[in-house]
């Protein structure tokens, strides 16, 4: 498969898109909401058991949630209590009516918007304006188009042409890794830059509280996901909404990691619920005899030398309450000045953010070529219909389809591992952390994280030796296609790699993960060090750091 050669992007890769269903989203919006609600009712309507289960489950889950949040007598809470109390005695038609009302309400809450004016504004005027603030340091140019700056600093590589080709042959679901709230902005820009129409995506409702961000997200096809709602009725509406959009040819963006990755590692446990809507849409398309039934899943990794929210994320991970604090309400991202400073600094660095586009997959996890066809691991073409046909007719089968989606999840996780682009900051953090771990074998993780500066000091010569060893192994793994490395990691001597990492770290983090003195390197913030080093976990590299590092 041809790869885009390394080097800066040669300007916009394609003319901006001007067609695609997203451009007439507003016209279709009411029809989409109606279709979602109708499908939901077709599924549960007429069945007393299914309706009661769905409504009781929703009531129970909502009452629990609202009470936990300390609500006592709100109209919302009263509504659910009343429903819970009286549901059993209501006739079928009334249960259906309640279900319809709720489903409609949720669908309207979820549904996005698309505003051509906002789109034009965001893609042309905003970068110009922002460029005034974000002028790279040391340039004398007074006006720097942010598009140019992004073009220099964000590198899109990998299966780029295939992605562009597939967007014309079927519906694309882009599934990037997720570590920062900047991800959707960076991806949004990349999609524009590649000449693709905007992708719809579900964004946490909490992100819509920032008025500026909210304006753009709402008008550029983002739909709202309320992660506080955990009951089946809401999740079903959400999935059906996604399915309907996919069937209508809206390219979509899912973050299958489910929220930003807390540990800094490349995601391996993926959420399959929304991912499964790709297969559902494909089967529906076949049943309808749609002209372009195929759904393509394109994994990609977002690789930053620095992560804005690193400190909060790793704290959350370490408190091991990631699950309960699924939504972090207040982090670095809610401070506008911090975001501005971060973007400015990332853009002014001499390192790039790399978007690595992986090989596209079908809903069953097979690889897809630029021709839009699926191939097995031995390069034979696959007739996809055969996976879903029962007696020659395409059919849904819940258990089977769930398993197919599980296998797709495995294939995506594998693609993430192989398309992970290692930057100097990751390699340097990994080397130092592993040397310290090896030097203090008796310390558990939490004690290790409390190591002082003196105890964590490693002579530079030792450090460089270990780093070169790890780098050579990384190069070998990258030859085998099991990982990727950035240009500096590939070419630079240990000194240059380390200097590059120190420069990146020093730019943003108040206490950098590591510090350098004349002849030694020591940990600054061990937790941040852990965060950045985790990007290299899972490759079995730990064993390479040897005893000799114990000086």
């Amino acid at each position: 498969m041809p790869m885009t050669p390394p080097g800066p992007n040669p300007g916009p890769l394609a003319a901006p898109a001007a067609d695609g269903p997203i451009f007439h989203f507003n016209r279709d919006r009411d029809g989409i909401v109606d279709e979602v609600v109708d499908r939901e009712l077709a599924r549960v309507g007429g069945s007393v058991d299914a309706l009661e289960l769905a409504l009781n489950d929703a009531a129970y889950s909502e009452i629990t949630r609202l009470e936990k949040a300390g609500r006592r007598q709100t109209p919302e809470l009263n509504f659910w209590r009343e429903l819970h109390r009286t549901l059993g005695g209501k006739p079928l038609a009334e249960k259906e009516a309640i279900y319809r009302r709720l489903a409609t309400g949720y669908a309207r809450d979820i549904v996005g918007n698309f505003d051509l004016k906002a789109y034009r504004f965001a893609t042309s005027v905003v970068p110009m304006g922002l460029s005034l603030i974000m002028r790279p340091q040391g340039t004398s140019r007074r006006f720097v188009n942010m598009n140019t700056t992004l073009t220099e600093r964000v590198r899109i590589q990998g299966h780029v042409e295939t992605l562009q080709a597939l967007a014309k042959k079927g519906t694309v679901i882009l599934v990037p890794t997720h570590s920062s709230n900047l991800d959707s902005i960076v991806i949004g820009w990349a999609i524009y830059h590649l000449g693709l129409p905007p992708f719809t995506y579900g964004a946490g409702k909490n992100l819509f509280t920032n008025p500026i961000l909210s304006y753009f997200m709402r008008n550029l096809g983002a739909y709202r996901v309320d992660r506080r709602l955990t009951h089946g009725l809401y999740k079903d509406v959400l999935k059906t909404y996604s399915t309907v959009l996919l069937e209508r040819g809206y390219h979509s963006l899912f973050f299958p990691g489910g929220g930003r990755c807390r540990s800094g590692a490349i995601e391996q446990k993926l959420k399959l619920g929304l991912l499964g809507t790709g297969l559902t849409a494909y089967i529906n398309n076949l049943q309808r005899g749609a002209a372009n039934p195929n759904v393509y899943i394109v994994p990609c990794t977002l690789n930053y030398p620095l992560v804005l929210e690193a400190a909060t994320l790793i704290d959350d991970q370490l408190q091991q309450v990631g699950r309960s604090r699924y939504i972090i309400e207040d982090d670095e991202f809610s401070h506008a000045t911090l975001v501005g400073r971060f973007i400015k600094q990332v853009l002014s660095m001499d390192v790039s953010v790399v978007i690595q586009i992986g090989e596209p997959l079908d809903p069953f996890g097979n690889r897809v070529g630029p021709d839009g066809r699926s191939y097995d691991k031995r390069g034979r073409e696959i007739d996809l219909r055969k996976y879903v046909e029962v007696h020659g007719v395409p059919q849904h089968q819940a258990q089977r389809d769930q398993q197919y989606t599980k296998e797709l999840g495995v294939a995506i996780a594998d693609a993430y591992t192989r398309n992970n682009v290692i930057m100097p900051s990751h390699l340097v953090a990994f080397t130092l952390f592993q040397i310290l771990k090896r030097r203090h074998p008796k310390l558990d993780l939490f004690k290790l994280l409390r190591l002082g500066e003196e105890a964590s000091s490693v002579p530079l010569a030792d450090f460089y030796r270990q780093l070169e060893l790890l780098r050579d192994e990384l190069l070998m793994l990258s030859e085998q296609g099991r990982i990727m490395v950035s240009g500096v990691v590939r070419k630079g001597p240990a000194e240059a790699i380390t200097a590059n990492a120190l420069r990146s770290f020093g730019m943003f983090h108040a206490v950098p993960p590591l510090c350098r003195s004349d002849a030694a390197l020591s940990a600054g913030d061990m937790k941040l060090l852990l965060f950045y080093q985790n990007r290299l976990s899972g490759y079995g590299l730990e064993a390479l750091v040897s005893e000799e590092a114990q000086a």
């Binding site: 069953f364 097979n366 034979r380 696959i382 996809l384 055969k386 996976y387 089977r400 558990d444 064993a543």
Partner: protein, 349 residues
């Protein structure tokens, strides 16, 4: 391709004419399914069709007339919706690479092979996924000495698959009054349990050969199962699988049966014969000899504590004597929790 149909039963393919493949073909035919039994050797296939017996492996079993032997591999892919794969582990990749040209997404593949691919450390189902486009894949494994199943002694097996459809199809085809089929979604645990018990069978034969009693054997089997479980869980298996038929069940049948080839290898090594001498007069290599090497090396490089496997490996490949290696397992100076503690810490990072 229609897979299951209550009235017009579809053709079932069986790859491999060893004793277990032959018995599975017979069971399917006895349930009214037309069966194509594939053998590599055309003469052996012709002989089975002429005599309705597999003279080489199961001379006493008269095969059900519904079994037809063939040496045409690709015909199996074209004609059969469900294919039971029972070729030796080292022949699987090449066989499936050829058969793969005739398979599509509707085919159901169920393998009954115990083994792990050396170097790649791939399980058999992973090889099936790599060499074909099929997804509906399962594994059949359990305490199933082929001769006893052929005699109709009550026995049971497990079919593990992520796809309920695969379990149902396999069960429909094979189950009978004397042969019960259980389902399990845990493919990894079922494959690991079935493959690694062969290592413990060598240890078991060795303990008997050294004249150790039942205490020693019980120790080897229980702690052996513990280390097999440890490896399996690391690979994503459900620990409960190892206490089921395909885990401890299979382990008991193999380790208590003096007829098992792996048991014999251990027994003769304990009595002072060399591995080469044993190999030279065994018609088939005991699968456990290969598995020991594959697993011990994997455990070493991945830091998994597997003292019994390590001991057998040292006997088979590094010249240790059975007595010192087995006694080494009981060395009290070594803290038995050491390995696990290290792993716990590593697991946190």
């Amino acid at each position: 391709m229609t897979v299951l149909d209550a009235t017009g039963r579809p053709r079932v393919g069986v790859l491999g004419g060893g004793s277990w493949g032959t018995v599975l073909a017979h069971l399917a035919a006895s349930n009214g399914y037309p069966v194509s039994l594939w053998l590599r050797d055309p003469e052996a296939a012709a002989a089975i069709n002429a005599t309705h017996r597999n003279a080489k492996y199961l001379p006493d079993l008269e095969l059900h007339p519904g079994v037809t032997a063939t040496a045409d591999l690709l015909a199996i892919g074209r004609d059969c919706g469900v294919i039971l794969v029972v070729v030796p582990s080292h022949a699987l990749r090449e066989t499936m690479a050829r058969l793969g040209d005739t398979l599509d997404g509707s085919h159901i593949l169920i393998h009954a092979i115990k083994g792990i691919e050396p170097d790649s450390f791939m399980r058999m189902s992973q090889i099936l996924l790599e060499e074909t486009c099929c997804k509906k894949i399962g594994v059949l494994s359990g305490p199933n000495l082929a001769k006893e199943v052929a005699l109709g002694h009550p026995s049971a097996t497990v079919i593990a698959s992520g796809y309920q459809e695969v379990i149902e199809a396999g069960s429909e085809i094979l189950r009978s009054k004397a042969f019960r089929v259980y389902g399990n979604p845990d493919v990894v645990g079922t494959e690991i349990g079935g493959s690694l018990k062969n290592i413990l069978a060598i240890a078991s034969g060795m303990a008997d050969g050294l004249g150790f009693g039942d205490n020693t054997k019980a120790l080897l089997l229980t702690r052996g199962l513990a280390e097999v479980t440890r490896l399996g869980v690391g690979l994503g298996a459900d620990p409960m699988t190892f206490s089921g038929l395909s885990g401890i069940g299979d382990l008991m049948a193999t380790c208590f049966s003096p007829l098992s080839r792996n048991y014999q290898v251990g027994n003769r090594l304990a009595k002072g014969e060399s591995l080469d001498a044993i190999r030279s007069d065994m018609r088939q290599v005991a699968e456990g000899v290969r598995t020991t090497k594959t697993v011990a090396r994997y455990a070493r490089t991945h830091g998994i504590y597997m003292p019994i496997t390590e001991g057998i490996y040292r006997i088979l490949y590094e010249g240790a004597t059975p007595k010192e290696a087995l006694s080494g397992l009981l060395d009290v100076s070594r803290n038995p929790y050491e390995g696990d503690a290290a792993k716990r810490v590593a697991g946190m990072l």
